[in-house]
């Protein structure tokens, strides 16, 4: 669908540049600099996408779509806020839209290839195998519990627990008040805590 090329050699060594300056230079024609922004936001965007989808392939696709959209709409960034705020707002909206589109599909995690990672059981000691299985089970349980939440609540929880943002920062990105963030976060935790109560003693 998209024509993509390796640009690793053409990336200038300008890591110190602030995001806004990079955006300005991209606007003036240095389009290759977008790779710098990609590099800076890639891990967090993927983490967010993974938290929202629960599957690596879908998370990769979603993260790629977010960057493509950001690239296409870069001209709409006017510098009124930080670039990171603008970018995350775009990413969050895209994640929510994606979840809305995917709502019709019934994706089961049991059919996911993510859950069944191959393990060389024979080559490992029994204790290690047991530990690995337990860890896998816990991860599976967390993912299922996360995906059972509504997309908005899930997103909020991810921003708090995975991204480690404050209420103020979450409110800024989701364009709501910190009070709303507090009450929604409390609701999300209440719902999720019941489902993860069985993990008591395992973690």
């Amino acid at each position: 669908m998209y024509v993509l090329t390796e640009l690793a050699n053409s990336v200038p060594d300008e890591d110190e540049l602030p995001d806004e300056a990079i955006v300005a230079r991209i606007g003036s024609g240095e389009k290759a600099l977008f790779t710098l922004l990609y590099n800076r936001y890639r891990a967090r965007t993927f983490a967010l996408a993974y938290g929202m989808t629960g599957q690596r392939e879908q998370a990769d696709d979603l993260a790629q779509e977010i960057f493509l959209r950001a690239y296409q709409q870069l001209s709409t960034f006017q510098g009124k806020s930080k670039f990171s705020t603008w970018f995350y707002r775009l990413a969050l909206n895209h994640c929510l839209n994606y979840c809305r589109q995917e709502r019709g599909r019934k994706r089961t995690l049991s059919s996911s290839t993510e859950a069944q990672q191959p393990m060389l059981i024979e080559l490992r000691p029994a204790e290690e195998v047991h530990e690995a299985l337990l860890r896998q089970e816990i991860q599976q349980q967390i993912r299922i519990a996360l995906l059972s939440l509504k997309p908005q609540l899930r997103l909020l929880l991810l921003l708090k627990e995975i991204e480690g943002l404050s209420y103020e920062e979450i409110a800024e990105r989701l364009e709501c008040s910190p009070g709303t963030v507090a009450s929604r976060l409390s609701r999300a935790r209440k719902l999720l805590a019941r489902k993860l109560e069985s993990l008591k003693g395992k973690i």
Binding site: M1, Y2, V3, L4, T5, E6, L7, A8, K31, A32, F34, T35, Y38, N39, R42, A43, F46, A47, Y50, G51, R56, A59, D60, A63, Q64, L68, Y71, Q72, Q101, G104, R105, K106, E114, I138, Q139, I142, R143, L146, L157, K160, E161, I162, S166, Y167, A182, S183, L185, S186, R189, K190, L192, A193, R194, L196, E197, L199, K200, I203
Partner: protein, 213 residues
Amino acid sequence: MLAQTIAQLRCGMRMDRRLSAYLDHELSDADAAKVSQHLMGCSRCQKKLEQISILQRALGQFEIPVSRGQWTSVVAQPSRSLQFDSRLRRLCAQRISVPLPLAAGLVLVLCAGLVFSFAREERNRSAVTQLSPPQVETKIVEVPVERVVVRTVYRDPTDQKTERRSGKNVSPVGPRSNLAQKHRNSSEWSTRTMGTFRPASSANIRVVKEPEQ
């Protein structure tokens, strides 16, 4: 007991949001101190706090796999047709979800329609089989002296018209029938009928005296 339950409910409504913010260090110092003091004497809130901290620990252990995304940059925009193609593909890949009550309703309507149509067909079939054969009204009148010939005459409306038009006293048997013409002209009357089958409504009986020989 009841008072304790009510107190716990009140406590739950008031404290749930605060506990969440307390763990996130989002409360002011004064509020955090109040929550700490409350926690000392409330077992329900202690349990809640433990649940939330388990959740936090679990999410803290949530493993994010390594992205397989490439170090890439866009050098060409997708064309319109490609965009349409991908949307179409995505649309085809989507499953149409129908709510269960609606699906059940549709199935019921379909079943009812099938049953109704079968019943209707069956009724039509039985109506055809029960249809009585055309009945010809036949009367035999006995006259003591004369020989009586009973003749069943079938009238054809079209033949009657012809008869009226011509003004002649023509036998009601169709003129096109050669057999009928033969019998009309002959001196002996047959006891059998002539012509083709006519509906029962157009049939009647005529008693004819046989001419004396």
